[in-house]
Symmetry: none
Subunit: 526 residues, 2 copies
């Protein structure tokens, strides 16, 4: 068992998207897929083309990504009662997603068949067998998700095993055992999974858990200990009700604690950044206390603990935080990745070292900004500009004198906002006024109008994404907000950030950085 | 094993208070103690009088509370190296707390003794023995917290067991085995705990876990399955790094799933309220996805799941939510279908059926609103208002004539925004102007100022949360935004929604609903 490889199977974009308040645009999904591929995820279950027509656009575009590791999975259910698989419209949608692999869920709890699906136990077996045989005949790799398997096994073990047998006989490649309601305990998961592993040695066994008893990670690990080879979960445990099993905890648990291979060492060191990235894209607040990757996961408060950790980290740390790309937080180092920051600084000024006063000052200022709510993880362009500014290497393109926003609601034409901006470019003052659909839109237009005569390159910039996150949200309307803006000039994309208790000002800061970054890249100063 | 009683041992006020950002005043602590006592907690570890002199005031006052169930525990460590227990000032402070029971932590990992404490293995045994014997001689009930026990056992089982033997020989009543670094797995906890339970049949065994591998709840349950009788943890898992074991999940797991007695049925039905109460007092955001007690824990979104739950709740619920004082939430969303919405409509007008023209029209309008970006699953109060309005049951409290927002950035005083609002209340026109930190803050203030003379109940409303999400974010600054506002009047909380391409207008719509909902609940029209 020492060298077997466990495959991480991510369902953030399918089961995770069932969570309250989570929804992904097609662009979001493509970004997440790329990031998960880099992380070394083996399978990415990315949508349900049968129940969600929007997903078809995603599947049409995902083929262009040239993934390194991951196989994309389209998800669907067994055929309907009383028809053939070929007649089932949802299965046709599934096939139109054009993936090499598919996952099919079916019932394995007798009661769910008779009382919820309201059909016979035999018809359910036929639905499983027909569907899988049909998909195999189309050349698909097939994962069979045995819904409610653990509940089903405990109610009627014989029937639950018959559903797996039907899937295997029809050619299923993987049997994924689901604890759909999240009510099973690790010792039960271990023994039932072991029975299945022994019964079906020729197929891979997978595990799919939910966190309703706060045991999804322990259950997933117990299944791996019993011989399961594929672990389904989501990044940060995003999912319906109490969430799915959290791959961000499972991967290091399996790899660092059980000693089984899952992703490479360098991929593992990108775990913290990947978890934060997905949380930003999903617009779900990141949990500072998240095991392994949270900002507090290796934070030491008590003086005695700090003393001990200074003597030897293992005294109060269960792993070396660097292995998952996280770090210890004791004194100064609220800023993520000192080494990474130094490397950035050296790109601007190669003479800098860790001891340079400039580097020490910049770390201090970064710490202060992060305390204010800045987070540069997903806004590297703002970070680059900031480094240039702090090192005195940035030559300003313009400076703001004032902007004035005027909103009359209701308005006759829908453009309820007007912004007048006064800026100075190389000592020359200029103004512009624009109307917009809301104040941020008007501000964006006015700024472009004012700058365009000086910097025609601004015409190439298009904003592609605008995100807002409320920080300290219990301050209600006086809370700080963080705005992230993604821009493109068709050659490349860049993301900038602004933080303020005023959403217009936060947007202004991010817009300003977006334009400054583009101009500093093309360096066509007037 | 069927009728043994497991004792919940809460350390929210001691180990929980080690968490980053958490601190309790003496008043807070007294409130939490009372609530935990009502909940049926057996032991409340409430402070460390040796390291925190403020705690002495708390211990002086806690005696006045007349607790029904709980014993208060003062927490401290074994005596210092090379002195007698009687000479140790921290132990004197501990005694001055004047509790009937105390907890003492000591080292049980050989490496921690030699490398961190820097003394001999024998001296550490003497420190444990002397301290416990001294406290027993003062008539105390003594819990021995064996720090790092599981790591220690795996490094040097013989020495780890000697530390427990020293404690038992000196008269310890309870041996609490600690997974201090949170790195142990449930199967390891089970087998090691079982060994200890068998070795020391005359004392109670306790368990103390941390969540660094996201397994603290599973580990605690594994220890109970191995025979542990006391479970240490904190409410909501508050604690250092990734937190302590979460008693809010452990108690129902032990009681409803293992079938062991812990607290009474009626106390269990107060679990959700108690968890939310402690979260408020600790000023830690409550986790909506918390197992058992979170707002989403029994929330159903997919139409198929909702159908099944209507047929039989056990199809997608691992327990009856009422048992822990929580409730089912059928989320209103495009996938939810007619049934859920009809039940809401019938609460307002019981004569409505699935076939009523009114119901059909409302479903059409809901679909249109969801297409625009409204999502009512997390904004039930806006949904209730909307239903009232669509059914013609809503009598308006006021109507907007116009608002005018003026922003000058930069501004001298930080209050860069000014809003003037014109409204009409029962035909009477009125206006108000307010300055704010950003336009939303100013709008909120102006609206309250204008309405307060007519509806004094507005003074009771406090906004507790403000969330913004950008929809269709590739439209950049012209994209639609969805604003969610959570409000409270101390009695209850409600959430409202606004959607617009103008963030100020979206905020206005959500603020307006927040106030209308409150007024429609109290129905004090002028």
């Amino acid at each position: 068992m020492a060298h077997r490889r466990v495959i991480a199977y991510d369902s953030t974009l399918r089961d995770g998207a069932q969570a309250q308040g989570v929804s992904f645009s097609v662009e979001d999904k493509l970004k997440v897929v790329q990031r998960l591929d880099q992380l070394g995820i083996g399978y990415i279950e990315a949508g349900n083309p049968g129940s969600n027509p929007k997903d078809l656009e995603f599947f049409a575009r995902v083929g262009e990504l040239h993934l390194q590791h991951a196989k994309i999975i389209a998800f669907g259910s067994t055929r309907r009662i009383g028809i053939t698989a070929a007649e089932d419209k949802n299965l046709q949608s599934l096939l139109s997603a054009n993936t090499t692999a598919v996952a099919i869920f079916g019932k394995s709890w007798d009661y769910q068949v008779t009382d919820i699906l309201r059909t016979t136990l035999d018809e359910n077996l036929a639905m499983i067998a027909d569907t899988i045989a049909y998909l195999k005949a189309q050349g698909k790799e097939v994962v069979f998700d045995a819904e409610h398997f653990y509940d089903g096994y405990q109610a009627n073990a014989d029937y639950a095993m018959q559903t797996l047998q039907a899937a295997v006989d029809a050619g299923a490649d993987v049997l994924a055992l689901c604890d759909t309601n999240g009510g099973t305990f690790p010792n039960e998961v271990f023994s039932i999974t072991q029975t299945v592993v022994n019964r079906f040695p020729a197929v891979q066994i997978g595990i799919h858990c939910h966190n309703d008893c706060e045991m999804a990670v322990a259950n997933s690990v117990a299944a791996v200990q019993a011989g399961a080879m594929q672990v389904q979960g989501t990044i940060n445990g995003i999912g319906e009700r109490c969430g799915n099993a959290n791959l961000v905890s499972i991967i290091p648990n399996v790899q660092l604690k059980l000693g089984l291979a899952c992703i490479s060492e360098s991929q593992l060191s990108g775990l913290t950044a990947a978890a934060r990235f997905v949380s930003e894209v999903a617009n779900v607040a990141f949990n500072d206390k998240a095991p392994y990757v949270g900002q507090d996961a290796f934070a030491h408060k008590g003086g005695m603990h700090i003393d001990a950790v200074n003597k030897n980290p293992k005294s109060y740390e269960h792993i070396n935080p660097g292995m998952v790309g996280n770090e210890r937080h004791i004194l100064v180092s609220e800023v993520a990745g000192r080494g990474a920051i130094l490397r950035k600084l050296q790109q601007i000024d190669p003479s800098l070292t860790k001891e340079s006063q400039a580097a020490v000052n910049i770390l201090e200022q970064l710490k202060a900004l992060e305390h204010e709510g800045y987070q540069f993880e997903n806004a590297e362009s703002s970070f680059d500009l900031l480094m240039q500014k702090l090192l005195g290497k940035f030559k300003p393109f313009f400076s703001l004198k004032q902007y004035h926003v005027n909103i009359y609601e209701p308005s006759a034409d829908g453009l309820n906002s007007s912004v007048t901006i006064h800026i100075s470019v190389n000592g020359q003052e200029t103004s512009a006024t624009a109307q917009g659909d809301g104040p941020v839109n008007a501000l964006d237009k006015a700024m472009r109008k004012a700058l365009q005569p000086f910097y025609p390159a601004i015409n190439e910039i298009k904003l592609v994404d605008y995100k807002v996150r409320v920080l300290d949200s219990n301050l209600a309307t006086a809370a700080k907000v963080r705005v992230l803006i993604e821009s493109t000039d068709q050659q490349s994309n860049w993301t900038t950030i602004g933080v303020s208790s005023d959403i217009i000002q936060a947007s202004w800061l991010a817009l300003k950085d977006a334009i400054e970054y583009k101009l500093s890249q093309s360096r066509t100063s007037p």
